[in-house]
């Protein structure tokens, strides 16, 4: 199975990179842009007996290593 993992900052955590990108977009004329937030995107290949089993494993990986629950939220999509 192919899993796509999206990690983003929690609300309230400063994201100066997002702010810098937002300013850049504004200076290029994209004035309509608001609230740019940077994040991380990962794809992993994984063997699992079922979708449920894969979900449990990926959640564990995210909680343990891939995301820091103090500052980050995550979500993922599983493609069979």
């Amino acid at each position: 199975m192919r899993v796509k993992i999206f990690i983003s900052f929690k609300d309230g955590v400063l994201d100066p990179q997002g702010k810098a990108v937002e300013r850049s977009l504004h200076s290029l004329g994209y004035q309509e842009v608001r609230d740019v937030r940077m994040g991380k995107y990962m794809e992993i290949e994984l063997e699992a007996s079922s979708r449920q089993a894969a979900e449990a494993r990926v959640r564990e990986m995210c909680d343990k290593l891939l995301a820091n629950p103090v500052i980050e939220d995550y979500r993922f999509e599983i493609q069979e």
Partner: protein
């Protein structure tokens, strides 16, 4: 007393800490390879600055799972003294030994300069030789030193007096301009509830001789030596 300095792949201030302890302070000190187990005779473990595992994913995120960290967590749980500097501070936060996290500097720039710090608490083994409110000049050198904790955690830190060092201006005021990285509440260093684990972004080992511009870093190491020498270590063991 005996010191241990952990060497992670990518540590680069391990030798600075070792030199400060061995040559300047005449201490018994040894390097501890991250894949080894913790030497039980060590009184204080130092996690040095650097870029463990290249700082990939997040600073300290992978160093936190080095084999020796299991022993460090157990050692800290028994009241052992653990000091984390810069990348070591980030690793202790990732390991859950200290609250909060360190994120990208609000300026997005790597900062490398001396800063003024105010000692907020002296009832820790890492600051007991300092005076409350005393100013220390230490250098910072980091790209991801912006301390973050959510509101609940921050209130708990303040209530338990776990904020040990704050960035201040020359007059000792925690002004926004004195904050080199955007840290919440100008926090430069925090301890755990048991007060035996301490992390800070500035580098005391790089301010241990006049020729380096400041000797104020010795306050941190001499506090630990004093705390252990007086047998106060037991008190920190709870």
């Amino acid at each position: 007393m005996r010191w241990g300095v952990i060497v992670f792949p990518g540590s680069c201030d391990d030798h600075d800490v070792y030199d400060c302890l061995k040559r300047v302070l005449k201490q018994k000190v040894e390097f501890l390879w991250h894949k080894d187990s913790l030497n039980r005779n060590v009184d204080c473990v130092v996690l040095p600055g650097g870029f463990s595992y290249g700082d990939y994913l997040r600073c300290g995120a992978m160093g936190r799972f080095s084999p020796i960290m299991r022993d460090v967590i157990e050692f800290a749980g028994r009241g052992g003294l653990v000091l984390g500097v810069c990348n070591g501070f980030q690793t202790l936060c990732e390991a859950g030994l200290l609250p909060g996290a360190l994120v990208r500097n609000s300026s997005l720039q790597f900062v490398c300069r001396p800063v003024h710090l105010r000692v907020e608490e002296t009832d820790t083994p890492f600051t007991c030789a300092a005076k409350k409110g005393q100013l220390l000049d230490l250098p910072v050198k980091h790209g991801e030193g912006c301390y973050y904790a959510d509101d609940v955690t921050l209130k708990r830190l303040q209530k338990n007096r776990q904020v040990v060092l704050r960035y201040v201006d020359a007059k000792g005021r925690p002004a926004p301009a004195a904050n080199p990285n955007g840290s919440i509440d100008n926090i430069a260093g925090v301890c755990n509830e048991g007060r035996n684990v301490f992390g800070l972004m500035p580098h005391p080992e790089d301010a241990c001789e006049k020729i380096l511009g400041s000797e104020d870093g010795l306050k941190i190491f001499s506090s630990v030596i004093a705390a252990c020498g007086k047998g106060e270590k037991r008190a920190w063991h709870g």
